[in-house]
């Protein structure tokens, strides 16, 4: 929509219809009454079991479905339950009390897997060890619900012949009538407040997105960016400040400077386009998932604009009827510690197939002890699934058996890579935006 007067072109930024769907992640009415995590596991099992039970007749229609306690030796059947992976190298708080300094090494690199890991299936009635070569423990984690077909052996294990995961959830059709390109920009791991943060590099990003950079062609591209999503770790508050002790006056600046610096950048951004900011593990937000939105008082400048939206982690929203779900990385990072895959995208695929955003919560990933729901269950497959704070930019278009199409995006840490991601809403194509200040 350029005005063709000489030298006076006004470009208008495109708009997209935004709907925030974070309600299920916001902790509002929940009251902690001393409950433990058995309830969230029960809700998860119940929900996933009913989904699996509708899929079992198409999978193996002639086999009976038993409970664990109802297993009979030698009788072929199907059981449905939650997986528990026994890992001897998994750090346990009781290790410091154990008398022997056993096989657990002092410093373990990223992963706690060992060849001795084994899987156990559990339902309300009991648990049974899973045996057999079909289920490789390295591909599974505690907390997912699956159906297994096999029979009980004389040792009391359950020999698995086949297994069924819920698979991708049904997906609402993406609107196909859009003819114009509209872009969503993703960035994560800004880490304002650390040495790794390069203000010039981030300013380049801000200028590009807001349209203050480049000539008319460049500005035309920027005018098509309808939304910016900041997926966590925008600032880095040293964890020493989270201990609850009073902060000495000389350290006050270390606490407030990063926040103020970030607010200055954010104000420039929100003045130009809608921005969603999510908390990450280094942001001043609660530790356990779902992380609650960063408080508006942190952003005195940016929160004055209605384009500023502080979101939960995980974050679920809709833009022009395209469903977006994403996290700041904790769910995938935790999978990386307890299982193996060829890349982060594969972990993301698995969470979609297991229909659960964070299956290791609450086992090894902190989460709120919900009583009447499990908000991380994926009931409807998103069109775009993004994860922030990863090592590198990766993307894949995943196709499901029921014509589902999901764009998986791994957003790299900006402070380390200078890379942001652009997604085209029209065709779900994705490309990287790289900013560098090295000449």
């Amino acid at each position: 929509m350029a005005d063709s007067e000489m030298g006076e072109a006004t470009l208008e930024r495109k708009l997209a219809v935004y709907r925030n769907l974070d309600e299920r992640f916001v902790i509002r009415e929940e009251k902690y009454k001393g409950q433990q995590f058995s309830h969230i596991y029960f809700m998860r099992l119940h929900h996933m079991r009913s989904q699996l039970q509708s899929l079992i007749p198409k999978w193996k229609p002639h086999l009976p479905v038993n409970t664990v306690l109802g297993l009979e030796e030698g009788k072929e059947c199907i059981i449905v339950g939650t997986l528990y992976k026994h890992m001897k190298l998994k750090p346990s708080i009781l290790d410091e009390y154990s008398k022997e300094r056993s096989a657990i090494p002092l410093v373990k690199p990223h992963n706690f897997m060992s060849t001795d890991d084994h899987l156990i299936l559990e339902d309300e009635s009991g648990r049974v060890k899973l045996a057999g070569p079909m289920l490789a423990p390295s591909a599974f984690v505690t907390g997912i619900v699956i159906a297994v077909h096999g029979k009980e052996t004389s040792e009391g294990d359950f020999f698995v012949e086949d297994f069924l995961e819920a698979g991708l959830a049904p997906q609402v059709d993406r609107p196909l009538d859009s003819r114009e390109d509209k872009f969503v920009a993703f960035v994560s791991g800004l880490s304002v407040g650390t040495n790794a943060f390069n203000p010039l590099q981030f300013q380049l990003l801000v200028d590009h997105v807001t349209g203050h950079l480049g000539d008319e062609n460049e500005q035309r591209i920027s005018s098509k960016i309808v939304q910016l999503v900041i997926a966590g770790n925008s600032m880095h508050i040293s964890h020493g400040f989270f201990s609850g002790q009073t902060v000495a006056p000389k350290d006050h600046a270390k606490l407030t400077e990063p926040i103020r610096e970030l607010d200055i950048f954010l104000t420039q951004l929100v003045a130009a386009l809608p921005v969603d900011i999510m908390p990450g593990c280094n942001d001043p937000a609660n530790y356990s998932l779902p992380q609650q939105p960063l408080h508006r008082c942190l952003f005195a400048g940016a929160s004055a604009y209605n384009t500023f939206v502080s979101c939960t982690n995980p974050h679920h929203f809709e833009l022009d009827n395209v469903q977006f779900v994403g996290t700041s990385g904790q769910n995938i990072d935790d999978l990386y510690k307890y299982s193996d895959a060829k890349d982060k995208i594969e972990f993301m695929e698995r969470t979609l197939r297991w229909r659960h955003l964070a299956p290791t919560a609450p086992n090894t990933l902190g989460c709120y002890p919900y009583v009447d729901k499990d908000p991380f269950l994926i009931e409807s497959c998103p069109h775009v699934y993004f994860v922030g704070n990863q090592e590198k930019y990766e993307t894949r278009l995943l196709q499901g058996p029921d014509k589902q199409l999901v764009r998986l995006i791994s957003i790299p840490r900006f402070c380390e890579t200078g890379v942001a991601v652009m997604l085209n809403l029209r065709n779900l194509e994705c490309h990287a935006l790289s900013f560098s200040t090295n000449l």
């Binding site: 306690l69 309300e124 009635s125």
Partner: protein, 136 residues
């Protein structure tokens, strides 16, 4: 323990291995299919229902049937039923509402007892908490 008259120790034995009292209360327990007697507890899937009544009550005294009445018995059976999920850490009424929202059709008489208690003047507040409250 004196010389083995275990039957005398239990002043009262459960009649049907755990089925709740065959009075008006049991008529409304909806799931009476072959493998799902309203016996509660670890009997899900097991061929026979082996139920002992929960012996120790909140006061610490050995809990015998006469001391807590039929209502509490029905509430405890509801607590112990695995079908509705864990009972610790949730109030009985909340657990009932949750089970109803999940479509599990929890027995209506349990809710009547709990709602009746809420409005009654002699409401014993300990009945809203599950069996194991304060003990675990």
């Amino acid at each position: 323990m004196s010389s083995g008259d275990i039957k005398g120790f239990y002043r009262q034995k459960k009649k049907n291995g755990g089925v709740t009292k065959p009075s008006s209360s049991s008529s409304s327990s909806s799931k009476k299919s072959k493998s799902k007697h309203y016996t509660g507890g670890a009997s899900v899937g097991a061929p026979s229902a082996a139920q002992t009544p929960a012996l120790v009550t909140r006061g610490g005294a050995i809990d015998l049937k006469e001391e807590y009445g039929d209502e509490e018995e029905a509430l405890r059976q509801f607590d112990m039923d695995m079908k509705y999920g864990p009972c610790i850490g949730v109030g009985r009424l909340e657990r009932w509402e949750r089970a109803a929202a999940m479509g599990l059709h929890p027995p209506l008489h349990v809710r009547e007892v709990l709602v009746g208690l809420a409005s009654g003047s002699t409401a014993c507040s300990s009945k809203f908490k599950c069996l194991w409250e304060g003990l675990v």
